[in-house]
């Protein structure tokens, strides 16, 4: 078996791309016989399928599936390359990201120890590892963003056959399993930010310690810049994934809520009958017969006027004024006057003559005279008219005299 060689690796990948792509798309790998057959069909080269198959293995393009010797799959680096270029990245669990963070934390401890020991060569070596881990985190973050966006795009596509319920379950899982736990990691107080902040401080301290070593100082500065770039990229990637997922979640949440609401109402009908559809009554659908008032010109214009009508302010209430209102009729004074004037042959004529009051007031005075215990009244027989100017009063004349007992007292 030949030694792995990168040139041969890429040459084989180029010449047999279709076969490798088919293997990538075969979820459960491919049987050796099928693989050889494809190599036979697709190959325009002179080498036999058997030879190419062996070269695939030697240059680490394919490997047997675990516990299945007759089935083959792409090796992880080749699979990763396909995922990267075909934008079919897998979602990274928060656990995978934590693994990288744990490794970085461990390296940070070593950096701290070596800096304190002023071990320049040791710091240089550990910097290389730190750079690798930081880049791993960046790659993971980018592929995770791609994976989330791929899922979102798939779910948006109308060709997928998932029902509203299934879609909502998928998008909820995406949020719950990947996006929300990531948020816990990258938010301002989360382990990602804390670790990157500590590492930045530590790199700054190391730069102070190794200020006299220009090469190491350059390396430390480069790692600091890399750290800054990765932090920014991770946060951008996370935000893009969160935004897309949340937007999709909200859209599907509405659909899901509508479905749940309909199902809940139907369930109620199932158990309680159609009378349970009280919510429908809440729609208050109009349906009434009313003569079309707008056909009648008079009523229509009245309604238009009413629609714009605003009542004017009421007149202020007038305070009663003593200068305008007549004086109160003094009953005792009236009786005394009559008493002095007795006998009075015609009470009404006397009142008109001596008082000159309006008819209501005259009638009231007339009543006081008739009711008085000091005066006696004798009614005449022939009606007579009394002229008040704009009013004519008709009545029988009343003769008024002083009651004997009271005149003597």
């Amino acid at each position: 078996m030949s030694t792995p060689d990168i040139r041969t690796f890429f040459r084989l990948a180029h010449q047999h791309f279709e076969t490798l792509e088919a293997l990538f798309n075969a979820r459960r790998g491919m049987r050796e016989a099928e693989l050889r057959s494809r190599l036979d069909d697709n190959s325009s080269h002179t080498a036999s399928a058997g030879h190419i198959f062996r070269q695939f293995q030697a240059h680490r393009l394919i490997e047997p599936r675990p516990a299945e010797t007759a089935s083959f799959e792409l090796t992880p680096p080749v699979r990763q390359l396909f995922r990267e270029f075909l934008r079919k990245q897998k979602l990274s669990t928060p656990k995978a990201i934590r693994t990288y963070l744990d490794r970085l934390e461990e390296l940070m401890g070593r950096l701290n120890h070596l800096t304190e020991a002023s071990n320049g060569s040791g710091v240089e070596r550990v910097l290389e590892h730190i750079d690798t881990e930081i880049e791993n985190i960046r790659t993971l973050s980018r592929s995770n963003r791609e994976a989330v966006l791929n899922r979102v795009t798939e779910l948006r596509a109308t060709t997928t056959s998932h029902s509203v319920r299934e879609r909502f379950a998928i998008i909820s899982e995406l949020l719950d399993d990947y996006v929300t736990p990531l948020q816990d990691i990258v938010h301002s107080q989360g382990p990602f930010e804390q670790l990157f902040s500590q590492l930045r401080t530590m790199l700054g301290e190391a730069q102070t310690v190794f200020a006299d070593d220009p090469s190491l100082a350059r390396g430390l500065k480069s790692t600091t810049a890399r750290l800054r770039r990765v932090r920014r990229t991770v946060l951008e990637n996370f935000e893009a994934a969160r935004r897309e997922t949340t937007r999709l979640y909200e859209q599907h949440e509405t659909n899901s809520d509508i479905l749940e609401g309909a199902a809940s109402l139907l369930n109620r009908v199932h158990h309680e009958g159609t009378g349970s559809l009280r919510l429908v009554d809440e729609m208050k659908l109009a349906s009434f017969t009313m003569r079309t008032v707008f056909q009648e010109e008079g009523l229509s214009s009245y309604l238009h006027d009413m629609a714009g009508y605003e009542s004017p302010d009421p007149e202020p209430i007038q305070e009663p004024s003593s200068s305008h209102s007549p004086p109160v009729l003094d009953r005792d004074e009236l009786i005394a006057d009559a008493h002095r004037a007795c006998p009075i042959p015609d009470a009404m004529a006397w009142l008109i003559d001596v008082r000159d009051d309006p008819p209501p007031r005259t009638l009231r005075a007339f009543r006081y005279l008739l009711q008085s215990a000091k005066l006696s009244a004798t009614y005449g027989h022939t009606r007579k008219e009394y002229d008040f100017g704009d009013t004519i009063l008709s009545a029988v004349p009343v003769h008024v005299m002083v009651v004997e007992d009271t005149s003597s007292s």
Partner: protein, 198 residues
């Protein structure tokens, strides 16, 4: 005051429960643009003219003039349609309004459970279903198209009902999971355990 345009037509349709949408063209545009004037005019008759966020204008009925039975028939018809779409389509909202429905393809009399609901409102065959579609058209929730019908934006009002029911169900579920602890006995000196309204 200047007479409002199309008033007789608008009033006659609104009082029968019709929902105006942009599909009604010029009449809708006038109603929408001068909504406040129409609203004020109807208000003087004791009628409540409403706008729905989905650009729908309709009249709200008094409690005693609602077409209760008819509304429930339409409501149940729509609930079945919504549930069916939720289980067979990737989206309810867009699918419902984009679909041309044919009576013979409706799910209402095809699944036993839906048929049971329909029978409960005296719907037994395609003619009965067509009767409900006629109501939906009359109220402006649907329109006739060749060989069938399509829903109009006014049908969002039924989706609002579903959302409301979903909220209620969530509230009920939350209150079951997190019941309010009962007051301790004799919490107040005059407490006798009988219910009271504050």
């Amino acid at each position: 005051m200047e007479a409002l345009p199309h008033l007789e037509l608008i009033f006659n349709k609104l009082r029968r429960g019709y929902h105006f949408t942009p599909e009604d063209g010029e009449v809708y545009r006038t109603l929408w643009d001068r909504f406040e004037e129409y609203q004020r005019l109807f208000d003087s008759l004791g009628l409540d003219l409403k706008k729905h966020p989905k650009n729908v204008v309709y009249l709200v009925a008094n409690d005693n003039v609602q077409p209760g039975k008819q509304a429930r028939r339409m409501g149940l018809f729509m609930l079945v349609l919504v549930e069916h779409f939720g289980e067979t389509h990737s989206s309810i909202v867009s699918s419902l309004f984009d679909t041309r429905f044919r009576l013979e393809n409706l799910p209402h009399l095809k699944a036993a459970r839906y048929e049971e609901y329909m029978n409960a409102i005296d719907v037994h065959d395609a003619d009965d279903l067509d009767g409900i579609v006629r109501s939906l058209v009359r109220f402006g929730f649907a329109k006739r198209v060749e060989n069938g019908f399509m829903l109009r934006k006014a049908a969002y009002r039924f989706l609002d009902l579903c959302l409301e029911a979903s909220d209620l169900a969530k509230e009920e579920s939350e209150s079951e999971q997190d019941p309010t602890p009962p007051d301790p006995p004799n919490a107040s000196p005059d407490s006798d355990g009988s219910p009271s309204i504050e």
